[in-house]
């Protein structure tokens, strides 16, 4: 046992580096910070950024040969590796955004903000590989507790505190329900390792016991509440709009991309390992008779995208609209989980890569506009096409990409997802997905109309001056959205290379 632990440590360096970044940054912040100066906060930010880069550099040395660490606590495979790169890249982008954010610069303790970004990222990294119920719970809680603090970070704003409060209540309830489900799973299977649980299921010990099947179903649905809350799937989404609107915008972007990605990673691994047996029949889920997991996920997917898109239509606050749009996108990505074949998982991974560029770009523009005009309201985007042409063009590209129209990258992502769904003969699901994309065009188009066709409310049409940094960052996000729409070979290859999930 001890030997196993020592042998596992060399493969665990990226995660250790991330944990050390948090601990050191926190100690330094407590001993030297508290002076309320922006420069100490910036120094902590740079230190944490360096920690992220070091973790990213260490990641290739971890390798992606499928194997188990620390008994069966933690799995390393190409699938986890993919999400780790995605999460670290998001973390780096978020730190760079945060350094430019006026809202955060006004905070006295902005250094702590970066510390908690590191803590959250550590939890997210653990979520990608956790393969034991205890580990899954710990990783999710580590992410949740750090995100509660991040959500309430703008201390002087009422809405930020309210966001944190709602996040704590919903998050605490979801994780408690998940924990209860896990305790039932433990009682039913006698093990905490998802591989051992799978082995017990595969042996067919429960196949003929009607009561046991009900117990399994209830337990898994309770666990699903925890995952659903992390990916903000309907009906576990209630916290999302309020938290996304109230939290500092860089935190919103972080939750919308990194936290959601890790939530999907852990959910896919859980279902794939426990209930999916590709040997029997492609696209069919076994292990428990009479229980159709893919129908359950399909229902979740349809509810999530339809509600997300329909409610987004009524939103006037752009941050809140993007929150509902991100709920809808979780619904699209869930379509890949319904299929769960290699093609379906590859489509989900590809969608996440593209989602990274389009969503972070959109949040960035909203942040810059909010810093300059002091508002996120859709009416304050009137005339933006004249006042800040680059931002308006950028936001248009990101939103068109989010809709999934060619020639931008979002189209490729949707196209892969729909083709996976159609190949698995869920035509009705694909049709609902396409209808939803059409609805989403309507509310994104409201933004275009305000930016280009309407005059500013107060007649304030003075141009917004942008610093070179803002111009460069915006262009850096516009380019991939156009480039990967036309030249998507490498992305698809990377996604297809990363679908391998470890099975004993």
């Amino acid at each position: 046992m001890i030997e196993n632990i020592f042998n596992s440590i060399p493969s665990f360096w990226p995660e250790i580096a991330m944990a050390l970044t948090f601990v050191i940054a926190m100690i330094v912040e407590f001993t030297t910070g508290r002076k309320g100066s922006a420069s100490t906060g910036m120094a902590t930010g740079l230190f944490v950024l360096a920690g992220f880069v070091i973790t990213m550099v260490l990641l290739p040395f971890q390798g992606s040969d499928p194997r188990l660490l620390f008994g069966s606590m933690y799995t390393i495979d190409p699938f986890a590796q993919f999400f780790k790169y995605l999460i670290l890249a998001t973390g780096i982008v978020i730190i760079v955004f945060s350094m430019q954010s006026e809202e955060l610069r006004r905070q006295e303790t902005v250094g702590e903000f970066y510390c908690f970004i590191a803590a959250t990222t550590f939890g997210l990294l653990l979520m990608t590989g956790a393969s034991n119920l205890l580990m899954i719970y710990l990783a999710i809680e580590l992410v949740s507790i750090s995100s509660y603090i991040l959500a309430g970070f703008s201390k002087k704003l009422h809405r930020s505190g309210e966001a944190a409060m709602k996040y704590v209540i919903f998050g605490g309830a979801a994780s408690a329900i998940m924990l209860f489900g896990m305790s039932l799973l433990f009682g039913l299977s006698g093990s905490l390792s998802i591989y051992e649980i799978q082995a017990g299921l595969a042996s067919g010990a429960f196949a003929h016991d009607g009561d046991a099947i009900w117990a399994w179903l209830i337990a898994v649905i309770m666990v699903l509440a925890g995952f659903g809350y992390k990916i903000s799937a309907v009906p576990f989404h209630f916290w999302t709009p309020d938290v996304y609107e109230g939290a500092p915008i860089t935190v919103t972007a972080f939750l919308a991309v990194a936290s959601k990605a890790a939530g999907f990673a852990i959910m896919i691994r859980f279902f794939y390992v426990m209930f999916f047996d590709s040997l029997v029949d492609v696209g069919k889920w076994v292990s428990l008779p009479h229980v159709e997991w893919n129908m359950l996920l399909a229902l979740l997917s349809v509810l999530t995208m339809t509600l997300g898109n329909l409610v987004a239509v009524w939103q006037d606050n752009l941050k809140r609209m993007l929150a509902y749009s991100s709920i809808a996108h979780a619904g699209y990505i869930l379509m890949g989980a319904v299929v769960m074949t290699d093609l379906g998982i590859a489509a989900m991974l590809l969608y996440f890569l593209i989602y990274f560029f389009m969503n972070l770009g959109a949040f960035y523009v909203v942040m810059v506009v909010a810093d300059r005009t002091g508002s996120e309201h859709i009416d304050d985007y009137r005339g933006l096409g004249k006042r800040a042409p680059l931002l308006a063009v950028g936001l248009s590209i990101f939103l068109v990409s989010l809709t999934g129209l060619p020639p931008f990258a979002g189209f490729i992502g949707k196209w892969m997802l729909f083709s996976a769904v159609i190949e698995a003969e869920y035509i009705w699901l694909a049709i609902i997905g396409v209808i939803n994309s059409a609805i989403s065009l309507y509310y994104y188009a409201r933004v275009f109309r305000n930016m280009y066709l309407r005059e500013p409310v107060n007649g304030d049409s003075s141009p917004i001056t942008l610093s070179p940094l803002v111009i460069v960052t915006t262009i850096l996000f516009i380019v991939p959205n156009i480039l990967f729409g036309l030249y998507f070979g490498p992305l698809v290859a990377f996604a297809q290379h990363s679908v391998k999930i470890f099975m004993p």
Binding site: L134, E141, G161, I169, L179, S183, G190
Partner: protein
């Protein structure tokens, strides 16, 4: 004299869990809602330890319960800090009266 078996423990835990859900859904005071969450966590703890003890399983359930106790304390610390902050800003901890964020 009746033998106390696993069923008794499970009944207690389900009752505790339901009370937690009830507190969470009916109470409007944030502190009481947090107490409801603690109820739910402890119900799961009872399950974990009872399964470990009565089904001749390993000690994994006990270890899990210990971790949960620690995490519940951490979560309570963060949650109460946030509630305190809310109280300073709004002078109330009633969830209904803290509603700047709306549809």
């Amino acid at each position: 004299m009746m033998e106390i078996g696993i069923t008794h423990y499970l009944v207690v835990s389900v009752v505790l869990f339901s009370l937690g859900v009830l507190a969470l859904t009916t109470r409007r005071n944030v502190v009481l809602m947090l107490m409801g969450i603690e109820f739910m966590l402890n119900a799961a703890n009872i399950n974990l330890v009872a399964f470990s003890r009565y089904q001749g399983l390993n000690l994994h359930g006990h270890v899990f319960a210990l971790f949960v106790i620690v995490l519940a304390a951490v979560e309570a610390a963060v949650a109460l800090a946030i509630v305190l902050h809310i109280y300073r800003m709004n002078n109330t901890v009633e969830a209904d009266r803290i509603a700047d964020l709306k549809e």
